[in-house]
């Protein structure tokens, strides 16, 4: 995978915002999970740069949040976020080219379905499996946390994410009605 400089800077800034917002920009639901505005950053990175940058921004961002947040390191959750970021960032792959101002209701539906799917795979499957491998205990609590994470993340991603995507598309759509002569 070759990244150009712009993508790298985008991932870095996304990761920094993700980390800071994960620590400060959320309403705590249960331990380790919150209704966090950090998810919006994943959506923006995904829209501007694509799936792998979104995944990296979420994964690195979660590591940063762990480093400055003071709740200890939970790499299982970082990887869960990475998987989720991959799904959220798929936007350009199914034709929602936010950079060119393309985002329709059809794309919003696909996006919502992928968000729920990504959450279930990321936190319902990958995180519990990794928790067993890395920490080998606390699976009951991880399940409770996983379900609350799925619900709260999906809520933020859909309720906040869809309007943000429409707004971003509108913002970038200024030049699209020009035709080349």
């Amino acid at each position: 995978m070759k990244f150009n400089t712009k993508t790298i800077v985008g991932i870095a800034i996304g990761a920094a915002l993700f980390g800071v917002l994960m620590v400060y920009g959320g309403i705590r639901v249960t331990t380790n999970t919150s209704l966090t505005s950090a998810m919006v950053v994943t959506v923006v990175v995904g829209a501007l740069f694509g799936p792998i940058p979104a995944a990296l921004a979420a994964g690195v961002g979660n590591c940063i949040a762990d480093l400055i947040g003071g709740w200890g390191f939970w790499f299982d959750w970082s990887i869960g976020n990475l998987v989720l970021g991959l799904f959220v960032g798929l936007l350009p792959v199914y034709g929602a080219k936010i950079n060119e101002g393309v985002f329709t209701v059809k794309h919003a539906v696909i996006y919502s379905v992928l968000c729920i799917l990504g959450n279930i795979i990321g936190f319902g499957l990958v995180t519990p499996v990794l928790t067993t491998v890395f920490y080998s205990s606390e699976l009951t609590i991880t399940w409770i946390q996983a379900w609350s994470a799925i619900v709260s993340n999906a809520t933020v991603l859909i309720v906040v994410g869809v309007p943000v995507l429409f707004a971003l598309a509108k913002r970038n759509a200024r030049g699209t009605n020009l035709t080349k002569e």
Partner: protein, 283 residues
């Protein structure tokens, strides 16, 4: 908000500050892996003590630090409280016994094993918190990139880490600027005059410009990096990485020893897993 984000851009002058980025990153990673990998108090306690020694040796600004400590201790205690509410007899699962000390009701009992487990868990999480704090206090973003690069992480990924850390103080600055300009336009953020829900909504209003300005800056930063020839070569050397000092050589023995201990702990755990996760002195 800004008191809690201590990112150093200039290295200090204590023992840990003067080490190479390479040494700092390796010691940090070994300590974190050791603290994650085990629930054995005999391993956790030395590492936790080591991290406290590291933090004290940095002579940090304790006045700034107390707020953070209070927050983290309160959060960890709250987590333990939640754990207790869900499974009061948690010690039975992980220590394999339950010695009842006293009962609130038949369900809410206090057992010695649960208390022991909570103590282990608290030490473990506080240990990894103090290790992270020490690490952040003694490292600068480019030293971190240099250190990660030295253990084989591709340098573009290292750049992501260092750039992200470098950008965090800017986020704080932007956040405060946006907040002040919003207040100048008449937005009431005083906690005494607005309800919690109102303030949450206002924080969302601050977030939107914060995200937009941050991503608008991507082009500028990327151009500046391109103009300086970033990403042309296959490898990268770091200006911040000074030559190995005699202290670095001494620390090399130290972290090799820690690495051997950590690997031994992990291998032992895989080869001979105990019947129960947590080692308890009286069982």
């Amino acid at each position: 908000m800004d008191e809690r984000l201590f990112i150093n851009l200039i290295p200090g002058n204590t023992f840990l500050d003067k080490l190479q980025g390479k040494t700092k990153v390796r010691i940090f990673l070994i300590c974190i892996v050791a603290l994650i990998a085990t629930w054995d108090m005999r391993v956790i306690l030395p590492f936790a003590v080591l991290s406290v020694v590291g933090l004290v040796s940095l002579k940090p600004n304790w006045k700034k630090m107390w707020g953070v400590f209070a927050f983290v201790i309160a959060m960890n205690l709250f987590n333990l409280f939640l754990l207790y509410i869900i499974t009061p007899d948690y010690g039975l699962n992980v220590c394999g016994a339950s010695t009842v000390l006293f009962k609130f009701t038949d369900f809410y009992v206090v057992t010695a094993e649960t208390l022991w487990y909570f103590l282990v868990r608290f030490t473990k999480l506080m240990g990894s918190f103090i290790v992270s704090l020490t690490f952040i206090q003694c490292i600068t973003p480019s030293e971190m990139a240099a250190g990660l690069n030295s253990i084989g992480v591709p340098y573009k990924i290292c750049t992501i880490f260092s750039l992200a850390f470098r950008y965090i103080p800017d986020i704080t600055k932007d956040f405060n600027n946006i907040k002040i300009s919003m207040q100048a336009r008449g937005m009431e953020l005083d906690p005494k005059k607005t309800s919690l829900w109102e303030r949450l909504k206002q924080n969302v209003i601050i977030l939107v410009p914060l995200i937009i300005t941050s991503f608008d800056r991507v082009g500028n930063i990327a151009n500046a990096m391109d103009l300086r020839g970033y990403g042309k070569g296959k490898t990268r050397t770091y200006y911040s990485e000074h030559e190995e000092t005699s202290n670095d050589k001494k620390m090399k023995y130290f972290y090799t020893f820690l690495l051997i201990v950590t690997i031994a702990v992990i291998v032992l755990r895989i080869v001979m897993p105990g019947e129960f996760e947590v080692w308890t002195p009286w069982i």
